[in-house]
């Protein structure tokens, strides 16, 4: 690693250590037909909705350019903006805490909650708190953390992990959800109604009743933030169900865990981001609810507000001149929904809370590439480029992946393992899209001979170096590129 990588990386948490590498997990997921069907349906639906509402905007490209540059401006002067944000937050009556890593952030939150003398908190879905595994830390401290987003509730009750940024329970069908509610709700509070069927409306009603008692009695709420505005000291949370408003409004104390890259310079910048995010994310003109607050408000909502600013590997990402643009990410999940690899492999294969193309670039940067799962992530892509085209902040994910592959190979240099050779060959293959395409085409043609087999034992060289180390899935009859061109060619 180069000397510029100053900030330390985030820990690969126990949840993901020892997890098999991406190819192994993906192979497992490919065998799960229900999941694949759900995912394909979901990503296709959201893709269509997104395209329609993005098409309504007169100058989408101008918005993207503005959004990307605003984020770059923040990253170029992050120290100044954080200090300004801290000043404004403090002036508005919010207490600001800083955390170098996940453990420190968790310690701060646990102490704040303990200080309130409560043994439970209500939470609104937040990638940052998932990343630092706050729920686990709270649990260890004897504090129950209730997830209140419907999908998160399904995941939490089902003792499961999220598989999509936006619809974390996308891998579960309605019958499964009904079973989870029936068997698990009672232990967590109000049981599911006796008469509940697997109708989505009835399942939603069960969640409403189950969580309402928790909202009404909650003393402490925990949130993340989609944006933190430096020049006004304002936090912004977008959501759909109203669980966010409940968590942000009803408790007496509110603790918000915010990644240091979430800053926007000015209030007016929201004009761009409140267009980019909902349209890219849920494919709506606007999400049902957006809550915006600037410290405690007189006689309205929590009278004590805290913000925990978290690094946890972000400064490490910032130190990479190519990789740092990943910090522009506003977690919209548009890149997941267009990714042919994600659609087939599913979110769990990425071994982190950030799945899909953004996970493949962000996770190895946040956590480093020492762990096999993190080192294999940059290879979880066919570099088709669809993710870049939909990204509202123009993150060049394919370029970042190639950059990371080079780093993986460098890290393995001097260790002539099969793995190292495989990675090296893969890096060569992927470095030039043309090479990959021509090799893939060769494989696709030969796949006619392989019908019926689940895995390919040997790819032609240079793929052979890779497949000798592990089985590669049988290539589809057409390449991702060919498939993409065929199915999306007209719209581009």
């Amino acid at each position: 690693m180069s000397a510029r990588h100053t900030g330390p990386v985030a820990a690969t948490t126990p949840t993901f250590i020892g997890m098999p590498k991406f190819p192994a997990l993906a192979r497992e997921a490919l065998g799960n037909t229900q999941q694949r069907r759900n995912l394909a349906f979901a990503t296709q639906t959201i893709r269509g909705k997104r395209a329609a509402v993005v098409g309504e905007v007169g100058d989408w490209e101008a918005l993207r350019l503005n959004g990307a540059a605003v984020k770059d401006e923040v990253l170029a002067h992050l120290d100044d903006y954080l200090i300004q944000l801290e000043d404004k937050l403090t002036a508005a009556g919010t207490t600001v805490h800083w955390a170098r890593d996940a453990a420190e952030a968790n310690r701060i939150v646990v102490e704040l909650v303990r200080g309130k003398g409560v043994d439970e908190v209500v939470k609104v879905k937040s990638m940052a708190t998932q990343e630092i595994e706050l729920n686990e830390a709270l649990e260890e401290a004897g504090i129950a953390a209730w997830e209140t987003d419907l999908a998160e509730l399904i995941v939490q009750l089902g003792n499961d992990r999220p598989s999509h940024i936006l619809v974390p329970a996308i891998h579960r069908g309605r019958a499964e959800i009904r079973d989870i509610f029936r068997t698990r709700m009672a232990a967590a509070g109000r049981p599911a109604p006796e008469t509940m069927t697997d109708e989505p409306a009835q399942l939603a009603e069960a969640a409403r009743l189950h969580l309402r008692e928790k909202f009404l009695r909650a003393k402490v709420g925990i949130s993340g933030a989609n944006f933190a505005i430096a020049d006004t000291g304002t936090l912004v949370v977008l959501e759909s169900e109203g669980n966010g408003r409940m968590c942000l409004t009803l408790p007496e104390t509110l603790i918000s865990v915010v990644g240091i890259e979430k800053v926007l310079p000015t209030w007016e910048d929201l004009g761009t981001f409140l267009q980019l995010l909902p349209r890219s994310s849920t494919g709506e003109r606007m999400n049902p609810y957006t809550s915006i607050w600037t410290g405690p408000a007189d006689g309205d909502g929590p009278q004590e507000t805290h913000v925990v600013l978290v690094d946890n590997g972000r400064t490490h990402v910032l130190a990479d001149p190519v990789g740092r643009q990943a910090l522009r990410c506003i977690r919209c999940s548009a890149c997941l929904n267009v990714c042919p690899v994600y659609e087939r492999a599913g979110g769990h294969a990425y071994g982190s809370v950030y799945p899909g193309p953004i996970g493949a670039v962000l996770t190895p940067q946040l956590r480093g590439i020492d762990n096999p799962i993190d080192a294999s992530l940059p290879y979880a892509s066919s570099l088709c480029g669809a993710c870049f085209e939909v990204c509202p902040v123009r993150i060049d994910i394919p370029r970042l992946l190639v950059n990371l592959r080079t780093q993986v190979v460098d890290a393995h240099r001097g260790r002539p393992s099969a793995e190292g050779l495989a990675m090296k060959s893969a890096a060569w293959m992927f470095a030039e899209p043309g090479r990959w395409a021509s090799m893939q085409k060769g494989i696709t043609a030969s796949s006619k001979l392989l019908r019926g087999k689940r895995t390919l034992q040997h790819l032609p060289w240079p793929g052979s170096v890779w497949t000798d180390a592990r089985n590669a899935p049988v290539p589809p009859r057409e390449t991702f590129r060919q498939w993409w061109q065929r199915t999306h060619g007209e719209s581009r």
Partner: protein, 210 residues
């Protein structure tokens, strides 16, 4: 011992990311709203499966009462500053917001509020929780939210609304942006209206009877 704050800031400075960035301007906010703006607003609010009606000022009390009747509402909370005379229906239990707890609000069927801004392009209503709009919990816990907005409060697009709301934010007002009733698509992507927020959003646009 260095504090976390010092260390994080030092890491940022050591990352060598500082450089001048040229930020291309965002597209200009839409100019002064045209009459079509209100039509578009009404259309987009309705698109979220909220109920939208347009009426003259004088018709407000009568329309509030018929709308609430539609949902079988028997109790309604009114925020401070809501025009007196809007809730005239003798059959309704009308409660002022006198230190009502969340549990009290949970037992009330509906809320009637005004609004600060409407956004045509997205069908969004923004509350800044000043007079006539109530604190945030009021428009959250009851199951029916009836919102009365004046046609001249509707702006064209999001940037225009953001600009207009700066003074409210600078004085520490919280904002709630509402685009349709509470909804989820978490179960097999089926949209279900109403999870935790009000399941019914009913909007009265006052001041031009298009």
């Amino acid at each position: 011992m260095t504090t976390a704050r010092e260390e994080v800031l030092a890491r940022i400075r050591a990352a060598g990311a500082a450089r001048p960035v040229e930020v291309p301007p965002a597209p200009e906010p839409s100019p002064q709203p045209a009459p079509e703006t209100v039509d578009l607003f009404a259309e987009n609010v309705a698109d979220y499966r909220a109920v939208v009606e347009r009426l003259a000022e004088s018709a407000v009390p009568q329309r509030i009462s018929s709308a609430l009747g539609q949902y079988g509402v028997t109790s309604v909370v009114v925020p401070d500053g809501l025009p007196s005379g809007w809730l005239t229906d003798a059959a309704l239990r009308v409660l002022a917001d006198e230190r009502l707890t969340a549990y009290d609000l949970d037992a009330i069927d509906a809320v009637v509020t005004q609004a600060a801004v409407g956004i045509a392009e997205t069908g969004t209503i923004v509350l800044d929780h000043t007079a006539g709009q109530g604190r945030r919990a009021l428009s959250l816990v009851p199951d029916v939210h009836l919102c009365v907005i004046r046609a001249d409060q509707v702006v064209g697009d999001v940037p225009a609304a953001v600009r207009q709301l700066r003074p409210a934010v600078e004085t520490g007002r919280p904002l709630t942006w509402i685009s349709g009733p509470s909804a989820t698509s978490d179960i097999e992507l089926n949209r279900v209206e109403g999870v935790h927020g009000p399941r019914h959003l009913h909007v009265l646009i006052v001041g031009d009877e298009a």
